[in-house]
């Protein structure tokens, strides 16, 4: 071979497909980040476009904002706790107590995910509302002049509706986690002398912790931002952050106030999401 052969520079390898990031990034920027940036910008500017930090401080210290924040946190925490308890009990029964039709029941509960949230509230109104079946029945049975049951129009009515709507979000990951629990472990525990409650506590639940965290976090996120249920029930004095944003923006046209509250709501959601990712990372979910 000749020594005069030129050393050819390695061909530059083109990385095919790296430009495919552009369309989704542009779409995200257009539909999500730009509107978000507008909201954040609006939170700092008054209606004439002048920076107004004093308004932010005023809103954050206002009674209506603090009440809405407390209501939002109370309702979402209570509803998530309720979802976790109801979801866990239902999942344990569906996964570990053999009965005919358990699969059908699981699928039926799943269908709640497909339904609009206000539908459950509407059903609750028919059942537990002032003119609902329960109150009408009680009034007729005991000759009462006024409806005796009015919990639906309180914080607890909202919580109950949210528990009903969001329990499937806990149930589904729990059932998936339970299906992976080795039945041999349960049987070994039982033979070793463990009663069912101990088996649930020490064998099954540790295996379900990632699913509980994932489902619970999702539930918390959804309930913090829940709008339809709270609006539809129309409970007196039960104003949450999303409802307050709606009221300020649509009914009062106080856009800066609405945007300040929206930023807080977004920060709350992102904070919860960050907490979930942190916990999930620590647990290796």
């Amino acid at each position: 071979m000749s020594e005069a052969v030129a050393i050819r520079a390695p061909a530059i390898r083109r990385e095919p497909g790296k430009f495919w990031i552009v369309p989704p990034a542009a779409l995200l920027a257009l539909l999500f980040f730009y509107p978000l940036a507008l909201i954040v910008r609006q939170a700092f500017l008054d209606d004439s476009g002048v920076a107004n930090v004093a308004e932010i401080i005023r809103v954050l210290h206002s009674r209506f904002f603090l009440n809405a924040l407390i209501n939002t946190v109370t309702i979402s925490v209570a509803a998530t706790a309720g979802c976790l308890i109801v979801g866990l009990v239902l999942a344990l029964i569906l996964a570990f107590v053999p009965f005919p039709g358990s699969g059908f029941i699981a699928r039926l509960i799943d269908t709640f995910i497909a339904l609009p949230t206000f539908l459950v509230t509407l059903a609750f109104t028919f059942l537990y509302g002032s003119a609902g079946m329960l109150n009408t029945g009680l009034m007729e049975a005991f000759s009462l002049p006024l409806p005796p049951v009015d919990f639906l129009y309180s914080t607890w009515g909202v919580v109950l509706a949210e528990v009903t709507v969001y329990t499937p979000f806990i149930l589904r990951p729990l059932l998936a986690a339970f299906s992976l629990v080795d039945r041999g472990q349960i049987e070994a525990a039982s033979v070793l002398g463990a009663r069912p409650f101990r088996i649930v506590r020490q064998v099954i639940l540790p295996a379900a912790v990632p699913a509980l965290i994932a489902g619970g976090s999702l539930c918390l996120l959804l309930t913090v931002n829940e709008f339809g249920i709270v609006l539809f029930i129309g409970a007196k004095g039960v104003i949450t952050l999303p409802l307050l944003i709606y009221g300020k923006a649509i009914q009062e046209s106080a856009y800066q106030v609405a945007c300040i509250i929206a930023v807080v709501n977004i920060a709350l959601s992102l904070g919860l999401f960050g907490l979930y990712r942190f916990a999930a990372g620590r647990l290796g979910v």
């Binding site: 041999g184 472990q185 049987e187 070994a188 525990a189 039982s190 033979v191 070793l192 002398g193």
Partner: protein, 381 residues
């Protein structure tokens, strides 16, 4: 896997004696199990004596695991009763039966350290902390896993996990230890070691009754005092291991428990005072250990491959001749396959003549009457 062997300890030995005293025999009294109309275990009556290892072996779907699960309390018998010691446990939940169980996939609790796995049963039974610590140390010592107490199951090999599973079962001082295919997930070398170690473990815990379910005849032959061979939900044969191997009562047992050559023969003289009958196979007149065969009965003469020899001596008085078909050298053993009047006959030999005959050659085979067993031609076929 750790090379540490199981070692018996004093506390275990003392408790073993107590277990024997408490009555650890298992009695199946016409126990049947059915799923709807499908009967998976036909009425089974069987006793396992205190301190005995009974191996239930059989092909898949033969009902052996169902029988074990009925003892554990995971399968409800359709009929019959199960007693452990003097207690009728048929209606007791598993956690009140006082058993230990080890299964194929170990079933260790993955989120607990080895020591917590072993302590689980004791905590469930409300034992005090000092006793738990003592028993955990003792059980881990017995299986040679003391150094791994702080590890998680995922940090152990398969063999080590199985040792922990055994320690966990032993820590509660069970009346009966149920072993359901405990070595099936291990590779061949580790399995051989574990079989020997379980045998050593039982020697150090002589009071422990073990019901050992397996499809591996080697495990059963190595470990069991008695064997029950299951087929189609029924016990096909049951008896002391050596007896069942040497004198299989039927064809299925002969062929399932080790390899067997079954020569069709016609009985000429029934069993005499020494327990031997005379039978004819073609031109060969053979002597074999018989039962109650009568002259003229069609029978099968069972000879294990390792009992056939290519050389005659004073004990190997029976002689048949076959045509050599195949020779397979496997290191320690050489397997020969011959055709004896249309019946394939296998020979497993450790020593062979210097000049090995070529395939196609006529080869005489010799065997001792004491190494044979006559069994009915139509039983268990």
């Amino acid at each position: 896997m750790s090379a540490v062997a199981f070692t018996g300890t004093s506390v275990m030995d003392i408790d073993a004696a107590k277990v024997r005293g408490a009555g650890s025999n298992v009695h199946f009294d016409k126990v049947s199990v059915a799923y709807g109309a499908h009967v998976v275990l036909h009425p089974l009556t069987l006793d396992i004596a205190p301190g005995e290892i009974l191996a239930m072996i059989g092909p898949s779907g033969s009902g052996k695991t169902t029988a074990l699960r009925a003892v554990a309390g995971f399968v409800r018998p359709a009929s019959g009763r199960i007693r452990i010691g003097a207690t009728d446990v048929t209606d007791l939940p598993p956690y009140e039966r006082g058993l230990g169980m080890v299964v194929q996939n170990y079933a260790l609790f993955p989120h607990m350290r080895v020591e917590d796995n072993v302590a689980f049963g004791l905590r469930a039974q409300g034992a005090d902390k000092a006793l738990i610590a003592e028993r955990v140390k003792d059980a881990l010592g017995t299986v040679g896993m003391s150094a791994f107490a702080r590890r998680y199951p995922r940090e152990l090999s398969g063999g080590q996990q199985q040792r922990v599973a055994i320690a966990r079962a032993l820590a509660v001082r069970p009346r009966v230890l149920l072993l359901d295919e405990p070595l099936s997930a291990l590779d061949a070398q580790i399995r051989r070691n574990m079989v020997e170690e379980i045998a050593r473990l039982h020697r150090s815990l002589p009071g422990l009754t073990i019901l050992y379910v397996t499809h591996d005849q080697t495990e059963a032959l190595t470990l069991a005092d008695k064997i029950a061979i299951m087929r189609d939900g029924r016990v096909c044969s049951h008896g002391p291991t050596t007896e069942l191997y040497r004198r299989p009562p039927n064809r299925f047992t002969a062929e399932f428990l080790g390899r067997a050559n079954l020569l069709p023969v016609t009985v000429e003289e029934p069993v005499g005072s020494k327990g031997f009958a005379t039978a004819r196979h073609g031109d060969a007149v053979l002597t074999g250990a018989g039962r109650d065969e009568k002259a003229g009965d069609k029978s099968l003469l069972c000879i294990r491959p390792q009992h056939l020899s290519l050389t005659a001596d004073s004990e190997h008085t029976n002689r048949i001749v076959g045509t050599l078909r195949e020779v397979h050298w496997q290191g320690e053993l050489t397997h020969l396959v011959l055709d004896v009047d249309g019946t394939p006959v296998r020979v497993s030999a450790t020593k062979l003549p210097t000049a090995l005959p070529e395939p196609g050659a006529r080869v005489p085979l010799f065997f001792a009457p004491a190494d044979t067993s006559l069994l009915p031609e139509d039983a268990g076929v």
